[in-house]
Amino acid sequence: MGWTRKVLRVNLSKGTCASEPLNMEWAQKYLGQRGLASRYLVEEVNPKVDPLSPDNKMFFATGPLTGTAASTGGRYSVITKGALTNAIACSNSGGYFGAELKMAGWDMVIVEGKAKKPVYLLIQDDKAEVRPADHLWGKSVWETDALLKSEHHEPQMRISAIGRAGESGVMYACIVNDLHRAAGRSGVGAVMGSKNLKALAVRGTQGVKVHDFPKFMQAVTAGKKVLAANAVTGQGLPAYGTQVLMNVINETGALPTRNHRDVQFEGAGRISAEAMREKRVTDGKANLVRNQACFGCTIACGRISQIDKTHFTVANNPKYWGAQGGLEYEAAWALGAATGVADLEALTYANYLCNEQGMDPITFGTTVGAAMELFEMGVLTTKETGGVELKFGSAEALTKLAEVTGMGEGFGKEIGLGSKRLTEKYGHPELSMSVKGQEFPAYDGRGIQGIGLAYATSNRGACHLRGYTIASEILGIPEKTDPLVSAGKAGLVKAFQDATAAVDSSGLCVFTTFAWTLDDIAPQIDGACEGGWTAARLLEMGERIWNMERRFNLDAGFTAKDDTLPKRLLKEAAKTGPAKGKVNDLGKMLPEYYKLRGWSPEGVPTNETVTRLAL
């Protein structure tokens, strides 16, 4: 068990819902969530498909530990071909929706085709139905959430939806569940919007069973103790959230600032975790209200914030003066450092809008950063921006663009393209800080060498969550490596990538791996699932998943040329801090990485590798 062994197949073109058995042979090879859904994608979707065409499919997938008492066991992922990247996309989300889907009895929902008119998918335990959503189209995620709960007399229903961004073709639109948790990256929300699918509304009351309850509970209890005893998961994350990193990364000289022109941000302290906890002069309250956990999570890194009542963003817009999902590190960085804006309340507001209308704050913020650079160069003028003085550091510009982009209006349409398409349109593709069309997150590859390689080789475009070498290079987990040294990073990146692919397939949150190794995770999976799961088996499975994703991208048309970084990271040295004078040594690391992966110099998995991994 662990699996419900049931897949819901929804054909939007026909308006049908059908239940089918989970492919258990694949489940034994790919476990669940990311790995298993990707296996389905590879089987069912032509890699060359236009992501926004009806032929693309979406897989909303839980893992075998989703909906169990395992700490953080509430994750689900959306797997599809990404609108932003044209590569395989797998966006992972917490909150409560994934567990609810599992409680309703489904391991996975496969969405095919395209509805003629807006629809939403209603799932109540075994029953599933495609229903008209004309009344929801044009509504925000938050409005949709309230309307569906009320309409169905289910206050405990969980909703995963797109907002106006997903409807209006923002290329990095995300899918938001439980108001402020998101399957955030690669434009999975844009794919959903292209299918005229507004939301999934789920109520599950059937519960989740595991294979061996006593064994499982023992492993789960042991795992929770490890998380509690660990300084990062037991103290740092609950108190400060991921924002604990802001000052740390800035001091490391790896906080990309103003579209990666700088690697340190003079305003970092003002947008950091510490700043969120500081009492404001105006009302004596802190920006941070409290922390919140996702389903089953004993870490509880989530932030709940409230904007200063006197701040210009809410002064005329009191609707946003209420406790909402606050700034995580990536969002604070992208909305702040990447744009040079050091106004915590403005960033919080922009983050609300990203949640409310469903767009990835990383790509949004970095795209605004790129646009600001174009504006300062004079390539963009107030004529294009609709009068917005798009200067680095302008909180007014940031919040205005968040408003118009979320609504898909005016210059927001251009910002909605993402930095790659935007900078290409204006003749400066070198200013897009992205890989495979997806923008960097909050670590600079010059100051932290390994993460540069992780970005360049990430199967979903630039991403920290495919191989979080920061754990080793900055935090010393599982052991400290020098961030400025590139030697040995190829092996580190591969190890992180493979292990993460396994964790992402389980239903657990990757943040557990600050404290857990696969040796802590394997017994939990083994208690939940039949088949005998060991750490070694999980690691091999992770490698299998990585190679499967790679082959999908190769078939989609990507080549080794796409495993690269923007010129700025390879040629323009860091100006300040410990990494002053450094560029990223990708040229040295990449060949070694291919070799360790068992790939040809062209980045293609060799026959031997394919056979070894039973692909």
Partner: protein, 414 residues
């Protein structure tokens, strides 16, 4: 002190137990006029289905419960009360003396005055004896006509279906459960019944019942409209009335039931009343008979405390009912009909048989109806009876009345 309690339903039994606690040395006599140990009418439907045996209906499970507490339980029927002489006359000529008396004689079913109402095979469903007879006659696949779709009718209906009979429900009013549900909710219950293959005829009267003498489904039930119905059994559930006839001439003031004050005392000294027979203060400041289990036990407890020289005052009964009609659970609370110049909000999901209606008086909730919801419905009682001011939550409930539990916890756990 000698306490006599007439009636061994929940009010009488709870009163006896409360008296024992409040007055350890008192002499307690509990009278019941049915041959069985004190049992619960609420449990009869489950006896009909066979979920429980007769013993499962007993209010207290230990055979020596009353002896253990020093409560004398007697099978006897009171026929007259003499408040001046402080005695109760029993059927058979005996008379017992009391210092304090409680009348908890409950209610009995009304039989509509129509031809054939006394035929064999025409039964109320009120006592264990009735239930045994219904079990005997309601063979699987036989036809049963249920007269009355009130609370009792619906709850019996559930049991009949589970027994595998083919029931037809005949209700005079324009909807099902008219005393507990509004038109929308009653209509939805009827629709639900239709999906379960149960025929429900509303706005229809039974005019006569005839015995055809045939072996199968011998009864013919004539209606004021439509074709007659055939049945092996007619269950009469057309309402109940307080059992007060025997009080005539006693000087104890009665209206619909026995008028009692907030101490549950009747118009006569040392005579109290509780349960279905008592017309006591209600939560809205009026005087009502609320023939429901929670009121019966509250009455029993408070009356007993006062009988034992305590000073307990009753805040008033709140109408509330929960009903399972062939699997559809409905509940109603308080002033579900609404109050003058009050506000209301409702949500209906016909396809899924869900309905919620809330009635407000200013910032306070005063009544509610729920269909298809069982979670935390007790909070509706909590919200109404604690008279909590809802503040911001009033607007939120007007927006989405489903958020009852949130409103409750937010308003009461600040």
């Amino acid at each position: 002190m000698r306490y006599v309690l007439i009636g061994a339903g929940p009010a009488g039994v709870v009163a006896a137990e409360t008296l024992r606690k409040a007055d350890p040395g008192g002499d307690i006599l509990l009278l019941g006029d049915e041959p069985e140990p004190p049992y619960s009418r609420m449990a009869l439907p489950y006896f009909l289905v066979g979920t429980i045996d007769e013993a499962g209906t007993y209010l207290r499970k230990s055979e020596t419960h009353y002896d253990d507490l020093g409560i004398t339980f007697r099978h006897a029927r009171a026929v007259r009360i003499d408040p001046a002489g402080k005695t109760v006359a029993l059927e058979g000529g005996e008379s017992v003396a009391y210092d304090r008396l409680m009348i908890a004689t409950g209610s009995r079913t009304q039989r509509p005055p129509i031809p054939g109402i006394d035929l064999p095979g025409v039964h109320p469903c009120w006592t264990l004896a009735d239930s045994r007879e219904i079990v005997r006659r309601a063979a699987p696949d036989s036809r049963v006509v249920l007269m009355g779709a009130g609370f009792i009718g619906c709850i019996v209906l559930e049991s009949l279906i589970k027994r595998g009979v083919k029931p037809t429900v005949v209700e005079m009013a324009d909807r099902m459960v008219p005393r507990m549900m509004n038109a929308a909710a009653g209509g939805l219950i009827k629709k639900w019944c239709a999906t379960k293959g149960i025929e429900v005829l509303t706005s229809t009267k039974v005019t006569a019942i005839e015995d055809t003498g045939e072996a199968r489904d011998p009864l013919r039930v004539l209606l004021d409209r439509g074709a007659p119905l055939r049945a092996a059994l007619v269950v009469v559930a057309t309402g109940v009335r307080p059992n007060i006839a025997f009080l005539e001439g006693s000087g104890i003031e009665t209206d619909f039931g026995i008028r009692v004050d907030s101490h549950l005392k009747s118009s006569v000294d040392d005579v109290y009343a509780a349960g279905d027979v008592a017309q006591g203060p209600d939560f809205m400041g009026g005087w009502s008979v609320h023939a429901i289990q929670p009121t019966a036990v509250e009455h029993g407890r408070i009356a007993a405390l006062n009988m034992a020289d305590g000073n307990a005052s009753y805040q008033g009964s709140l109408a509330m009912n929960v009903l399972d009609t062939a699997g559809l659970v409905s509940s109603s609370f308080g002033q579900w009909q609404g109050v003058e110049s009050g506000e209301s909000v409702e949500r209906m999901d016909e396809a899924r048989f869900r309905y919620t209606r809330l009635e407000f008086d200013g910032e306070r909730l005063v009544g509610a109806i729920c269909l298809g919801r069982t979670d935390q419905i007790g909070m509706l009682r909590g919200l109404i009876q604690s008279r909590v001011r809802l503040g911001d939550w009033k607007a939120r409930l007007m927006e989405d009345p489903q958020r009852i539990s949130e409103a409750y916890v937010a308003s009461t756990h600040k």
